[in-house]
């Protein structure tokens, strides 16, 4: 058939342009006159009812497009099984998916929920329509990720940890970080949560590291399923980024909003950095077996995506509206990654806590060391001894590393704000809210708790702003517990009633796998309780020692 004689040419009839269709659809809304919509999710921002030109899309092209994307995803999963993907996949990688996929479906569905919060604030019906589609997208993301997780559980050699996934999500020492991330989308000031924190920062900047860096690393480890799912998820993000930018533009026009916007950009950027870089950085750098020196490190990716693409081309242009951008925070985040070893310290912390995890973490070895030293000069001097200890103590029957006094690692304080521990020891600080002492990983995290999440900001009342709540220090939940009892309570015990779900190695062999008996006799404690109970003098001394850091001993 000649190109010019396509089916649409034969049957074609005049149709509506997408622009006209979007305009008609946008006209579905009206201003109520009998009963006003309830403004149940408050904001301290003023929103100008000036429609910006958002993406033009209608559901009748959206649904078939998404179904087509789905078909490709599910086809690829089938193909991966036919191609025996799991024969060759790297367990080191899949184990970390137990953590990652336990976390991510909740942030996704939270994004769907938060569309209700911005939906009623949207300036203009076209943007509101954009939010409705985003809501359905996020439902897609949450359930497509649950499906992937179930698929790993059914096909990977060790399903333990996948089988308890949502229960583990609510209890684990690491998933607490992911909950902080997601709850930020759905609580407090609706614009802070659903526009600035979720869209302007998390989706616009950090989904690149989440949904693009992770797939590349997955493929390098023989996992072709995750890239298919996550690149498909990421393909929806450009619409969300567009929605968020339209909303931002309608807020930024009003100088009255600038103070709050500066607060929220600062809070959101730093929290996203602290949480996403800790988690994804660890997955990408430590969950891989690929040590190709030509590939970009997480730090290099961060520089490209967060520093160049986001900071320079998205954030900086906001200054022309008169909004102050916190350049120093961006630079400080970069320094934390390249100079202060933030990701390496997070991976170290995760591994110290392996008995209370629900996935396996194996030791890094010589081949890994070489790559780390190449990409992060000085790495070996700081972490080499530690990982040799870890390898040694991964053998069943050894005193586990969390409590082994010979190692020299000092268990960290939690940051009350980002919930990642205070790993960069010299930056640890304390603060007070309502007469109570708290610990923080950084001064920006302290500011977030003491200054941003409060009823007033720089003299301006902020009645809509959220508050930190709950038992935020995970360690507090098991203060005074025996480690074995805590693991039992967490539910991180296998079906035989004694073998642990987490293991410090990748041996799929009962004789090498740790049981409750191998960890019993060690008592967990809350660093926050300890520091609160100290006399002022003792506390000052303790903080000075903490900030001076620790030295891991040479393994014997």
């Amino acid at each position: 058939m000649p190109d010019s004689l396509s089916l649409t040419k034969i049957t074609g009839q005049k149709g509506m342009s997408i622009g006209e269709a979007a305009r008609r659809v946008a006209d579905l809304g009206w201003t109520p006159s009998y009963v006003q919509e309830a403004m149940t999710f408050p904001t301290d921002y003023k929103i100008k009812k000036v429609p910006r030109d958002p993406m033009k899309q209608v559901l009748r092209s959206y649904f078939p497009m998404q179904e087509e994307k789905d078909n490709r995803v599910y086809g690829a999963l089938d193909a991966a099984l036919r191609g025996d993907m799991f024969r060759n996949v790297q367990p080191r990688w899949v184990e970390w998916m137990k953590l990652f996929l336990a976390i991510i479906p909740f942030p996704e569905i939270s994004a769907a929920r938060s569309m209700a919060m911005v939906g009623r604030l949207a300036p203009g019906e076209e943007l509101r329509t954009g939010f409705t589609m985003q809501m359905v997208d996020e439902f897609r993301h949450s359930t497509i990720q649950m499906n992937l997780k179930k698929w790993y559980m059914e096909n990977y050699i060790d399903p333990a940890g996948f089988d308890i996934t949502e229960a583990a999500f609510g209890k684990c020492y690491a998933t607490t970080i992911g909950r902080q991330f997601a709850e930020g989308f759905v609580t407090g000031d609706a614009i802070t949560a659903a526009n600035v924190y979720l869209t302007v920062v998390a989706e616009t900047a950090f989904t690149n590291t989440l949904f693009v860096a992770m797939p590349s690393e997955a493929a390098r480890n023989g996992d072709y399923a995750l890239p298919t799912v996550f690149l498909s998820v990421q393909s929806d993000e450009s619409r969300h980024v567009g929605n968020g930018h339209s909303m931002l533009m309608s807020i930024i026009q009003d100088p009255d909003n600038h103070l709050l916007l500066e607060r929220d950009l600062k809070y959101a950027f730093w929290q996203n950095h602290a949480i996403v870089d800790a988690a994804v950085g660890t997955l990408v750098e430590y969950g891989t077996t690929n040590r190709d020196k030509n590939k970009e490190s997480y730090a290099e990716l961060w520089h490209r995506w967060i520093y160049e693409d986001y900071y320079r081309t998205y954030m900086l242009p906001l200054e022309k509206y008169g909004v102050k951008i916190h350049h120093d925070d961006v630079n400080a985040a970069w320094d934390r990654i390249v100079k202060k070893n933030y990701i390496h310290k997070t991976a170290q912390f995760f591994s110290v806590g392996w008995p209370v995890a629900f996935w396996r973490q194996e030791a890094q070895t010589e081949k890994d060391f070489e790559w780390f030293e190449h990409k992060y000069p000085g790495w070996y001097a700081e972490f080499g001894n530690y990982w040799q200890w870890y390898a040694k103590l991964s053998k069943k029957g050894e005193k586990n590393i969390l409590f082994n006094q010979d190692v020299g690692y000092v268990y960290p304080h939690r940051c009350w704000s980002c919930l990642v521990p205070c790993l960069i020891r010299e930056d640890m600080c304390t603060g007070e809210v309502d007469g109570k002492l708290y610990t923080y990983c950084s001064t920006v995290c302290r500011w977030t708790h003491t200054t941003a999440f409060a009823a007033e900001y720089e003299g301006r009342a902020t009645p809509a702003m959220g508050r930190f709540s709950g038992r935020r220090e995970w360690e507090d939940c098991y203060h005074g517990w025996d480690l074995a009892d805590a693991i039992t309570d967490l539910g991180f015990v296998r079906s035989d009633g004694k073998t642990l779900v987490p293991q410090p190695h990748l041996h799929f062999d009962d004789s090498k796998m740790w049981t409750l008996d191998n960890v019993r006799g060690n008592t967990l404690g809350s660093p926050l309780r300890a520091i609160r109970e100290m006399t002022p003098e003792a506390r000052e001394k303790h903080i000075a020692e903490y900030r001076a850091g620790f030295t891991v001993n040479v393994p014997n």
């Binding site: 559980m153 009823a455 709540s469 079906s495």
Partner: protein
């Protein structure tokens, strides 16, 4: 196997079954009680994704609203449940089934419209009927949109993932249908002279025939109790007003006005509603039967029935003049109303509510 570690002699593959050890056959999500004998795929995709301090959320919710309300709160509805987690959506939707179904409907409508327009069907619509479509179907599309926006709002508040996702897909169906009608009217307009696409909204805003409907919809949108919204949408407005107009008028009357296209477009909404209704009935039936709160819930639902039922009844009766507008009159308003009353009784008895008071 990791290249960085000595492989176990027996293990050369990372595939299921490559080795036998504690937990190696634990291949089902084991943290919830399935509704049936085995967990459905829908349950696996849905249950406990929204966490809860009553189940596994050990540290409780960690960010609250300014007034101390947590991220999710049972008291965001006046209805009470001994265990909200019992609810499962009858239509078992997760993303894949949702997109498949929505996409199938989009394709069905596209076929009908394309074939109809190609055969010149639109130009053979009875002229009086064209005016009905322009003014009244054009007005009605806003009601559907209002239902979509109310449920979009409501899906933020439910206490479990199952409740919220059922309300979310409901919203998605309503919003699609509002757009289906909008674009359908825009397309037939291309084949007709003097078809005013803006007339529908004018009738929606100003025509006395539509003001009761608009008041009903705006009242639902103004509710602060998300379950009241869900109840008012599916237990009251849909059967008493929406189906009355869709089934009792458009679907019944169109063919006699030479219009076989509109019923096909509208029929999608009837299918959507069957699913949304099944989910709704399941949830409210559970609440009516609740061992501790059944009586409280029945009284509450009766209150909602009265409040929204009165508005819906008023809205329905104001629509009556529309039945006399088509040139060929084959349907009686009173018959249509009678049919919807039977429908209401059936829904009421399935949930376990006495709806007589609002029907007589």
């Amino acid at each position: 196997m990791s290249a960085t570690q000595e492989p176990d002699a027996a293990t050369t593959s990372a595939a299921a079954g490559a080795a036998k050890f504690a937990g190696s056959d634990s291949r089902k999500f084991n943290y919830f009680q399935p509704k049936g004998r085995r967990a459905s795929h829908y349950e696996d995709m849905t249950v406990d994704v929204q966490p809860d301090p009553k189940r596994y959320l050990m540290q409780d919710w960690i960010i609250s609203f300014a007034d101390g309300q947590p991220a999710y709160n049972e008291n965001w509805t006046a209805a009470k449940s001994t265990d909200w987690h019992q609810f499962r959506a009858v239509d078992q939707e997760w993303e894949r089934t949702h997109y498949q179904r929505q996409s199938t409907i989009v394709g069905m409508i596209a076929n009908v419209v394309e074939n109809g327009r190609r055969s010149g069907a639109v130009t053979r619509f009875d002229p009086a009927w064209v005016r009905v479509l322009q003014n009244h179907l054009g007005a009605y599309k806003h009601a559907e949109f209002g239902l979509g926006m109310a449920t979009m709002q409501a899906q933020r508040y439910g206490y479990t993932q199952m409740v919220n996702n059922a309300i979310l897909t409901n919203s998605s169906y309503k919003l699609r249908f509002a757009q289906d009608l909008t674009l359908y009217l825009g397309e037939i307009a291309m084949d007709l002279e003097n078809f005013d696409q803006d007339a529908g909204k004018q009738h929606w805003m100003d025509d006395p025939v539509w003001q009761g409907v608009r008041q009903s919809i705006e009242t639902i949108g103004g509710c602060t109790d998300y379950l009241e919204q869900y109840f008012a949408v599916n237990v009251i407005f849909e059967p008493m007003v929406a189906e009355l107009f869709r089934s009792g008028f458009v679907m019944r009357v169109a063919a006699s006005q030479n219009d076989f296209m509109t019923p096909a477009v509208v029929s999608a909404a009837e299918g959507d509603y069957e699913r949304n209704l099944a989910n709704t009935v399941e949830l409210f039936h559970m609440l009516v039967l609740d061992e501790n709160h059944g009586a409280h819930n029945r009284a509450l639902f009766n209150h909602w029935l009265e409040k929204h039922g009165a508005l819906a009844q008023n809205a329905a009766s104001q629509l009556q003049p529309i039945w006399s507008e088509p040139r060929v009159k084959i349907a009686q308003f009173t018959d249509a109303i009678e049919q919807q009353k039977n429908r209401m009784r059936a829904i009421g008895s399935e949930i376990g509510l006495d709806v007589r008071s609002i029907l007589d």
